[in-house]
């Protein structure tokens, strides 16, 4: 996971001053919010399915050890391998080992947030493996040496002109970048060449099914299918929490994932993989089989010869049984990002973490500890929009408050904020003192204000007025007005 090079508030300032970013975020989040709303409106049993999905997630996370053991046994029974990684370092070492074991030179990758979390590409490059990102957005992120800014739509912060410029650097002609379909066709040609020669395909895992040992990988572009079909070796990275008990439970999750992410009833390619290719070809012993020769009647036609599933903990198990356990219900649809008024303004990069938005403001400090990330839980107005749209009704505001509480207890909250709140508490329980303070504040703010608005506040309060004006207090307090009305 990238650790933020800049202070959170500095990054927010930069984002708010970037007008092109503001326009791009506005366009993208509005579109995603309205697509989700339309998808949910056309789904008559949405509320009942969401309640049901939440109960499945709660049950599974509460029995996680049992379901992971069942998943492992079922994957083994189908000829797949399961690896367990406690940390990011272990996870990348496991993948590098698999690459070595199968003599892999080049790999293609479909979108995987866990692979970003463990910084897989850099580690594989050190191991001598070329990794090509094949999701169109992630490919552009890779070309630009950038970071994704959304967990579902990674380049919503870029304009087509930015992308055209990057493509020209790869040899695109004027014709290739004349419009979005041409640009997409250009990327398809480049990426197809990578697919045809890759030895290994790396994917994420939207869900693992304990009963059947199946892995579910959803993509709209089809890169997820190519990645898990063409290369000899398929490696899937999956967070330990992504397991569901049965295929019927998977069906419930799938009814919500596409609708919540983009308003689609189902993602275009919902790919359910139960072990590597079946039959004698799968042993790899018959390496020199001809195009049509030696096709035993029981051999599957195509698919990877080897399947490795890497289960990644990297801080997740610590969350179980605690205040933040609920964040492990998340199915990574991105709806809370799109709905969040803070995310809409600042975009994904300001959070400095692979997981931005409301879910990231809980998950990042949860996985990595609060120190260094204590500002993220503050980046919320607690309006509850995230909880409103969450397909499994995760109570994100509750966990943001609990993280704020913890950062105060750990002494991570700035002294001026804690002492300010302490002062407020002292005043709030003393009605007379409170009224005096109100009158003083009203007078002071009116002195600073022009036309009813304060454009500059001193000291630590200046952080507020840097981006927005603060209203002057009303000349008459509510209590005074109430008394007058009663008379």
């Amino acid at each position: 996971m990238t650790s933020a090079p800049l202070n959170f508030y500095v990054r927010v300032d930069l984002a708010l001053k970037d007008h092109a970013l503001g326009a791009a975020m506005d366009r993208a989040t509005k579109k995603l919010v309205s697509s989700r709303e339309a998808g949910m409106a056309a789904f008559p049993e949405a509320d009942a399915v969401r309640d049901h999905a939440r109960r499945i997630r709660a049950h599974t996370v509460g029995q996680l050890g049992q379901y992971l053991r069942q998943f492992e046994t079922a994957v083994h029974a189908r000829g797949g391998h399961v690896h367990w990684a406690e940390t990011a370092e272990q996870a990348v070492a496991i993948v590098a080992d698999i690459a070595r074991q199968h003599d892999v030179r080049s790999a293609v990758k479909s979108k995987s947030m866990v692979s970003e979390e463990i910084d897989l590409n850099a580690a594989l490059a050190r191991a001598g493996v070329d990794v090509l990102e094949t999701d169109l957005g992630e490919f552009i992120v890779q070309v630009d040496k950038d970071h994704p800014s959304h967990i579902v739509a990674p380049i919503i912060h870029k304009s087509r002109h930015d992308i055209a410029k990057s493509f020209r650097g790869l040899g695109a002609t004027d014709e290739d970048v004349v419009d979005v379909p041409q640009m997409t066709a250009f990327a398809r040609r480049l990426l197809r060449a990578g697919f045809l020669k890759a030895d290994m395909g790396i994917s994420g895992g939207n869900f693992g099914v304990a009963e059947t040992g199946s892995l579910c990988v959803c993509t709209n572009e089809g890169n997820g299918r190519l990645t898990t079909t063409l290369p000899r070796v398929h490696v899937a990275l999956m967070g330990i929490e992504r397991v569901v008990p049965t295929l019927a439970d998977l069906d419930v999750m799938l009814q919500l994932l596409g609708r919540s992410a983009t308003g689609q009833k189902l993602t275009v390619y919902t790919n359910i993989i139960s072990g590597p290719r079946r039959g004698q070809g799968a042993t790899g012993a018959q390496g020199a089989m001809g195009a049509q020769g030696a096709t035993g009647a029981t051999d599957e036609s195509d698919g990877p010869e080897h399947l490795h599933i890497v289960l990644v903990d990297n801080g997740r198990s610590r969350l179980l049984g605690g205040e933040l356990a609920e964040i492990l219900y998340c199915i990574r649809c991105g709806a809370c990002l799109n709905a969040c008024p803070v995310y809409q303004q600042v975009g994904g990069h300001a959070y400095g973490s692979v997981y931005p938005g409301p879910v990231g403001a809980v998950l990042t400090p949860g996985l990595r500890g609060l120190a260094g990330w204590e500002d993220l839980p503050q980046a919320s107005s607690l309006c509850g929009a995230c909880r409103e749209v969450c397909p499994v009704r995760i109570d994100i505001p509750r966990m943001l408050l609990s993280l704020r509480d913890e950062s105060t207890r750990l002494g991570l909250t700035p002294a001026w904020a804690t002492s300010g709140l302490r002062l407020l508490r002292r005043l709030a329980v003393r009605p007379k003192a409170f009224r005096v303070a109100q009158r003083l504040a009203a007078r002071a703010t009116r002195l600073l204000a022009r036309d009813g608005w304060i454009r500059w506040l001193p000291g630590h309060l200046s952080a507020w007025t840097r981006q927005r004006d603060f209203p002057a207090f009303a000349p008459e307090t509510f209590m005074r007005r109430w008394e007058r009305r009663g008379r």
């Binding site: 009942a48 999701d135 010869e305």
Partner: protein, 227 residues
């Protein structure tokens, strides 16, 4: 990496044992979801409507002969001299494979060799095939999806590599939903290592939220429904 396994599992078990939120083991599985929606009456009409909303072209044909003629016309329109095809017994249309042969179009099997060099050579040889032809296990009416299971003579590449995918389906294979498909095929994960639900043509909206079709998978999908 057996240490990793032991450590992760014991950390999970310890946390769940000590934890209080939510109490371990107290949350029962909710069981199967029971829909209160009335079952759709006309499955063919519903599937057709959903497919068309996704920009899939639907061809309803009365019998195998008409379906065969339709598939040949689609291949000709595309200028396909070769077609990446499933084996005859899986195409849901007796006589179709023979008719393609007689029409002079080469049927390429989806077979991929296991060895690295042979595999690469085979992929290079089928990369520019212009059409893929498959049957399907089922049509899922409520989402407009095709359910395809891999197996001998039923490769994944036929519905994936070429820019056009033609799927042949019999009307009685259409079910209301994925849930109904799972109920009808309780051992579906044993039937093949890959089950894919295809819901429309390959698409992306990564660049400025502009919908574009055919980014990696087929940009054109045709469903021929017989009966």
């Amino acid at each position: 990496m057996s240490d990793g396994r032991l450590n992760v599992l014991s950390a999970i078990d310890r946390q769940l044992r000590l934890g209080t939120l939510p109490p371990s083991g107290s949350l029962q599985h909710p069981g199967a979801f029971t829909s209160r929606q009335a079952a759709p009456v006309d499955l063919v009409a519903l599937l057709t409507r959903e497919l068309e909303a996704l920009a899939v072209t639907v061809h309803r044909e009365a019998d195998d002969r008409a379906a065969t003629a339709r598939v040949l016309a689609l291949l000709d329109e595309r200028g396909a001299s070769r077609v990446l095809a499933w084996d005859p017994e899986w195409l849901n249309c007796p006589g179709l494979s023979e008719a393609i042969d007689a029409h002079g179009i080469v049927r390429e099997p989806c077979w991929l060799p296991a060895g690295a060099a042979e595999r690469r050579a085979r992929l290079a040889a089928i990369d520019d095939v212009r059409a893929g032809l498959t049957g399907a296990l089922a049509g899922l009416a409520d989402t407009g999806s095709l359910a395809l299971v891999s197996g001998p003579g039923r490769g994944r590449t036929a519905s994936l590599l070429p820019p056009m995918h033609v799927a042949v389906l019999r009307a009685d294979q259409i079910v209301p939903s994925f849930g109904a498909c799972l109920a009808a095929h309780p051992h579906i994960a044993d039937e093949g290592s890959n089950l894919v639900l295809i819901t429309g043509p390959s698409r992306t909206a990564d660049i400025e939220m502009t919908l574009t079709r055919g980014v990696h998978g087929p940009g054109h999908v045709h469903v021929v429904i017989i009966g």
